[in-house]
Each structure stands twice: as structure tokens, then as C-alpha cells.
């Protein structure tokens, strides 16, 4: 049913396959989240009080955890996306594996910064 080529374990154990999965997964989740994020922000049309009522939802731990996860996903997608643009348009050749490690590190740093500032 799928139109993607089937890959064996050697291809799947490659670091750039991991980067591909992370980019897809984070992009898909971000695409699902963005309309909800905009829906929340558009509550500001109801004025400061109405907006505040909607925002109190974000005090729930589920939302706090969700925000934290989304910041990490956003960082993953940003760093992974820059790597892809560099592969496609940049002057360098190769899969930029060092960039994958840098992307992971960047996402971890963003996750920790969120925890630091939110606490």
C-alpha cells in the first residue's frame, strides 16, 4: 500500500534515517498543533478577560508538558530543516552527519532552556 521504498535494517540503522524520521515526526505533530495554537491565540478577539480565561487552560500540567514537548519538536524541526537546506542548496557535499548531532544537542538545549525559564 505504501509508496515509500522498503528499506532494510542497514539503511534504517543509518544516522541520516534517524534524522529523516525525526524531521517527519516533528513536522507532522507541529502541523497538527499549529491550528490549535492559532485557535487559542484568536481568543484574544474576546478581549483581555476572555483571552485570560482560555489561557488558564495552559496552567494544567498536561498543557505545560505539551508546550515543553512542542518547543523541543520545533527545535528539532528547525535544526533538521536547516541541515536539509544545506544539503540541497549549500556549497558542501555529503549527508552532514555532524549537523544531525548538532541538531540533537540544539533540541536538548532548547528543552532545558524552556524548563529553566518556565520554572
Amino acid at each position: 500500500m505504501r509508496s515509500r521504498p522498503s528499506l532494510d535494517y542497514r539503511a534504517k540503522s543509518h544516522l541520516s534515517y534517524f534524522a529523516y524520521v525525526c524531521h517527519r515526526f516533528s513536522g507532522l505533530l507541529l502541523a497538527c498543533f499549529i491550528p490549535l495554537h492559532f485557535l487559542m491565540l484568536s481568543q484574544s478577539l474576546r478581549g483581555a478577560e476572555g483571552f485570560q480565561k482560555s489561557l488558564t487552560l495552559t496552567d494544567l500540567w498536561v498543557f505545560k508538558f505539551g508546550e515543553w514537548a512542542l518547543v523541543i519538536l520545533l527545535a528539532v524541526h528547525l535544526a533538521g530543516g536547516i541541515r536539509l537546506l544545506m544539503i540541497e542548496f549549500g556549497p558542501w557535499k555529503g549527508l552532514r552527519k555532524g549537523w544531525i548531532q548538532l541538531s540533537i544537542l540544539f533540541a536538548i538545549v532548547c528543552g532545558l532552556l524552556f524548563l529553566y525559564f518556565a520554572s
Binding site: G27, A31, H37, S42, S44, A48, E49, F51
Partner: protein, 120 residues
């Protein structure tokens, strides 16, 4: 033959549109991350958010560009994933269009909302 050709041309155009929007988003997301870290200190409040955004033309222009880049970028990615995962279902196009319209309409409403603070 003609149809295959026009599908290929469309795919190439979509590929380019996604890459160009990705370049815009790269900049927007980096700035947005910094704003997130700044904004979450001490929790989110409506007063604080509107204090930053209400009547601020630069904020509104920046975030509307962000919305427009998302409107181009996300639905193309969603369509690609759906087309590869369920190639015969015909889901890719309608779902991508629904996502595109949701992003454009809700996103622009959100920008207008935080710019005006509900005072329309």
C-alpha cells in the same frame, strides 16, 4: 503523457515552494523560540501578551509573514506524507487543503486578535 508532465511540474513547484517557505520559516522560528523563552518567564498572561502585541505593527507583520510561510510549508509536507503512506486513498489533497485553510484563517484571526486586543 501530458498529465504525467503537468503532475511532475506541479511536484517541482511544490518542492520549491516548500524550500523557499522553509528559508523564511528558519528565520521566523529562530526568532519565535527566543520570544517563547522571553514570554514564558513567570507564566503566560493575557495582559502580558497583549501588552507586547497590541498596536505593535512590527509584531503583527512578523507574525503574519510567519503564518503565510506556515500556510505554504505545512500542507505540502502533510500532503507528501499522506501520499506516500496512503497513495491510493485520495486523502492527500483534501486534507492538505483543509490544513492550509485552517492555518491561513485561524492564523490571520490570531494575528488580528493579538494586534487589536479584541477592540474592533
Amino acid at each position: 503523457m501530458g498529465q504525467a508532465m503537468s503532475t511532475n511540474v506541479l511536484q517541482a513547484k511544490l518542492w520549491y515552494a516548500q524550500r523557499i517557505s522553509a528559508m523564511v520559516l528558519g528565520l521566523c522560528v529562530a526568532i519565535h523560540l527566543v520570544i517563547i523563552f522571553y514570554a514564558i518567564r513567570g507564566g503566560l498572561s493575557a495582559q502580558e501578551i497583549l501588552g507586547r502585541t497590541q498596536g505593535n505593527v512590527l509584531f503583527a507583520i512578523f507574525y503574519e509573514i510567519f503564518v503565510l510561510a506556515c500556510f505554504v510549508h505545512a500542507p505540502i509536507g502533510m500532503a507528501n506524507i499522506l501520499q506516500e503512506t496512503f497513495p491510493k486513498s485520495g486523502l492527500a489533497r483534501p486534507i492538505a487543503w483543509i490544513l492550509a485553510l485552517l492555518i491561513l484563517i485561524l492564523g490571520t484571526t490570531a494575528v488580528v486578535g493579538v494586534f487589536t486586543g479584541g477592540g474592533i
